[in-house]
Structures are given as C-alpha cells and as structure tokens.
C-alpha cells in the first residue's frame, strides 16, 4: 500500500478534545472532489499518526522503578516484571472519501511483560472538515478503539511460617492487605482512550 504523509502547516488555532502526543501530521483534505477507485483510495490514504501507546504502557512506567524490601531485607524490584522490549505502538491512517469527509483506521501492536499484557487493538473513526472562511478550517474527528485491554498476572509469595505460599498481587505483596484481598486489584482494564472526539480549528497564514 502506498502511503502518502499529510502535509505540515503552521497552525494557529484552538484544539478542543483529547490531545495525543507522538508524531502527528496535520491533515488537510483536498478541496477538489473526485471519484475514488480502489487505486484512488490507496492514493487517498494518509499516515496521520504514530504514537507510542494508548495510555496503559505509560501508566506502567513508574512501576519499573518501584519495589519493596523482603522480610529478610533484600530489595525486590518490579522492573523485571513491568518492562517490555517492545512498547505498545499505534499507527493510524486516514482515507479521504470526499473533500470534507474521511475515515480513520489503524492498529496497535500490543505489549507484553513478565507480569502484564496489553492486547493488540484496532481503531476506527471518521473526520469531517469544512472551510469556515478563507484559510480557516474547522474539523471534527471521532474515533473508537477496539481491544487494547491491560491485564496483569499474579505472583506467588512465600511468607514463611506466618503465611506460607500464597497467590498475591505482585505490587501489593508487602502491603497490609491479606494476600487473597490483593487479587481484585490486579489490572484488568480496557484502553484508557477508548473513544475520542476532537474538534480542531486551523488557520493558515
């Protein structure tokens, strides 16, 4: 598939809605309208975003520096459990269907560590754009994410004579919670950015 990057502009404007970081290309839909054949659909597809994660991956980052002291004073680091060689990466495309309308689609790779997994995901949405005056565009983008769930695995802790071996939430093994009561706190969540609506005003000068 031939991909054309969107053009960059100097933008002055106000963006409402959820902002995302990463590589983002400003989108301008061509004002001329044309009949899209399959070839033309490919020609009309633009890479609009490559983003490191959908929120879950960044949320786990602080755990890499965390840990606790064992009963014998040894440091138990969370780093080996919450580190991955590959970060969940999202790639998003926009296929222009008309001068004012396009569909958005993309996928996330997912991520896996020793004690967690972020499932792969797919993103679908649409963008509507209108020229409200010369050189000023107003666009409305709405997307939804399918998949991308974060699930955490438990640990087996040896508490010695006082508690024996028990299944426990790794992060809460040294808390005051009884081991069985830590399990409901295992991460088991949908993507943090499941639905997004973005209203953007762009002015070129």
């Amino acid at each position: 598939m031939k991909i054309k990057a969107g053009r960059f502009f100097k933008c002055v404007g106000v963006t409402a809605g959820f902002a995302t970081c990463g590589i983002a290309c400003a989108i301008e839909l061509n004002s001329a309208s044309w009949e899209n054949t399959e070839h033309e659909l490919l020609e009309a597809t633009h890479l609009i975003e490559i983003k490191p994660d959908n929120g879950h991956s960044r949320r786990l980052d602080p755990l890499q520096q965390a840990g606790f002291e064992s009963a014998r004073g040894a440091w138990v680091s969370f780093n080996p459990w919450y580190t991955s060689t590959w970060k969940d990466t999202h790639v998003t495309f926009m296929t222009q269907l008309s001068s004012q309308f396009g569909v958005i689609w993309g996928a996330g790779t997912g991520e896996r560590g020793a004690k967690y997994a972020i499932a792969p995901s797919m993103r679908f949405g649409a963008i509507f754009q209108t020229e409200i005056q010369k050189n000023s565009l107003l666009s409305l983008k709405a997307t939804t994410l399918i998949g991308g769930q974060l699930k955490e695995k438990s640990c087996t802790a040896n508490y010695g004579d006082i508690g024996g071996s028990q299944e426990v939430n790794c992060r809460l093994a040294a808390s005051t919670l009884a081991p069985a009561n830590t399990l409901p706190y295992l991460f088991n969540e949908q993507s943090g950015h499941k639905k997004q609506v973005l209203l953007q005003f762009t002015h070129r000068f």
Binding site: E69, A71, S175, T176, L177
Partner: protein, 306 residues
C-alpha cells in the same frame, strides 16, 4: 513468705515530666478522624496503611490506668490533651492499628483479662515491682496477671510489655533494689515481647540509639530473643518512656494479624522478632537492643516472591 503484689507495687512506665492532677475534671479521649501519619510515627506505618486494612479483625486490649485522677499532658498529633496513662497508650496503639477492636481494663481490677475470639494483642505499659530476692514462681499473682502470664506462656495472646525505665537489663534490680517481676514471669514465654525505647525512629542513614532511660535486653539470651526496640519521639509528643514503646508493637502486631488472618499469636510474635533490623540502630549488640528495631515493613513482606 510468698509476696502478693499490691496496687502500690504497680508502676506506670512513663517518665512523669508532664504529670498533672486532673482535679476531678473528666479526661476524655476525643474522637480521632481518619488515620494520619504523625511526626512521631515510623515511616513504615504510613507505607503500610497504603491501601490495606489496619488491624481489622483483631482485638487490642490495653490493661492500664483508666480510673485515677492523674493525667499527663501530651500531643500525639491532635493537639495537646490531658489524659490518663491508659488513655494515652490506648490512643497511641489505636492510631497505628486504626481498625482494630479495642478493649480496656483498669489494672486495678485484678480480674482475669478476657480475650475475644480470634487474635488478641494485649498492651502492658506498667511494671510490678518487688524487692529482689524472690523467684518468679514465688509471687502470688492476682487473677489479672495470672491470666496474662498464662496467655503469654500458651500463646493465647500477644503480650506487648514495656521493658522498663530503669536503664538496667530486663530482670535486673534497679537502683532501689526492686525488680519488675512481671517482666521475669514473661521471660521465655511463647508470645511475649519486651519493648525498649529508642531515642528516635532509626534509619540506615541516621541510626537510633537506646533511650537513656530505657531498660535493655541484657546478657540473658532468652530475654534477648524476645526483646525489640522502637522509636519513642518524646520531643514531638511530650510523652517519654517505654510505656509508649509497647503500644507501637501492639499496633504492629494488630496490623500483622489483620493481614495474616490464619496465623496465631506465636507466629506473629516470631514474625516481629525475626524481621527486626540491626542496621537502623547504632552499634548494634543483642545485649542492648535484643533483636533490634522492629520493622513493620519487613514483617508484612514475603521472604521471596516470583
């Protein structure tokens, strides 16, 4: 002659710098709000509260003075108050194990201490002094002390006993030639802990030292094995003495009991003793610090995890 201890033999193990007569005014405990980490507390306590239970399902029994007209000024974080000795030790232990069920018994009662079902932690911040020369088994104890000694011997309850303020080894005679015979009676029992006072909460960066007034473990290996220390920050609270060391261990024991719900008194006692730190006290020796400084963080943690 078999001595029978009298109420006059009972000595409250706090330094009386802030003694005040209550003059018949009511001494009230006040109502505490949600747990707040106070300046006198070891940082382990705040970290342990995190998201967990705090002594729930455990009964904390404080045997102390709850009836006299003697009060002491102090401040455990909710402003200066005038409270009886027992009200202070109860408040201190309750501020650590905030979800424990609490019971009080005036030490003048002489009646056996009744335990609740489940785990019981008993705080004893007093001593029973008699002239030295008697063996522990020569003492004719009241039903109260008899029940407490039996609970420690059988592991029926955790007994957190203030070590004493005579700057001598546990079990040794003080300058007046008196011995705390309750200490002697608890020696070698399954679930009694002697609690000495450090001058501050220790850390590896700033190790603590034994408070000048605090009794120490001494050369008796049996006593050393059941002797712990904790920081008593009297400069912050106005309350000094091993009376205020024992409630901290009582609170720790209650928190442990609410986490390890299938454990018994002896197991919890051993957990606190076995996880004490020697690297947060200055020039550690068993004769001074016993097992070392109690560490709630380590007592809650697993030995290993995968």
């Amino acid at each position: 002659m078999t001595p029978f201890f009298k109420i006059s033999n009972v000595v409250l193990l706090m330094l009386v710098a802030n003694y005040a007569a209550a003059d018949g005014k009511p001494l009230t405990l006040g109502v505490d709000s949600a747990p707040v980490l106070q300046a006198w507390m070891n940082p382990d306590i705040g970290a342990a509260w995190g998201s967990g239970f705090k002594g729930q399902g455990v009964t904390l029994i404080v045997v102390d003075d709850f009836k006299s007209k003697s009060g002491y000024n102090g401040n455990l974080g909710s402003g200066t108050q005038l409270l009886r000795h027992g009200e202070w030790t109860l408040k201190e232990a309750s501020m650590i194990a905030t979800s424990a069920t609490v019971k009080t018994q005036d030490f003048n009662s002489g009646t056996a201490v009744r335990l609740n079902s489940g785990l019981n932690v008993v705080n004893l911040s007093y001593a029973i002094y008699l002239q030295s020369g008697y063996a522990a088994n020569q003492i004719r104890w009241s039903s109260q002390e008899k029940s407490l000694i039996n609970d420690a011997a059988t592991g029926a309850a955790i007994i957190s006993k203030a070590a004493g303020n005579d700057s001598v080894a546990v079990g040794a005679a003080n300058k007046s030639g008196n011995i705390d015979y309750l200490n002697l009676a608890l020696k070698g029992t399954a679930s009694a802990i002697y609690v000495g006072a450090l001058n501050s909460n220790g850390s590896t960066i700033k190790p603590a030292t034994l408070a000048s007034y605090s009794n120490m473990a001494g050369n008796d290996a049996v006593v050393q094995k059941q002797f712990l220390t904790v920081g008593v920050e009297g400069s912050k609270t106005g309350l000094d003495g091993t009376s205020f060391a024992a409630p901290i261990i009582s609170g720790y024991a209650a928190i442990l009991g609410s986490k390890f719900t299938n454990s018994n008194s002896t197991q919890i006692t051993n957990q606190l003793l076995n996880t004490a730190r020697q690297d947060t006290v200055s020039n550690y020796s068993a004769a001074v610090y016993g097992r070392g400084e109690a560490s709630l963080a380590r007592a809650l943690a697993p030995v290993s995890i995968k």
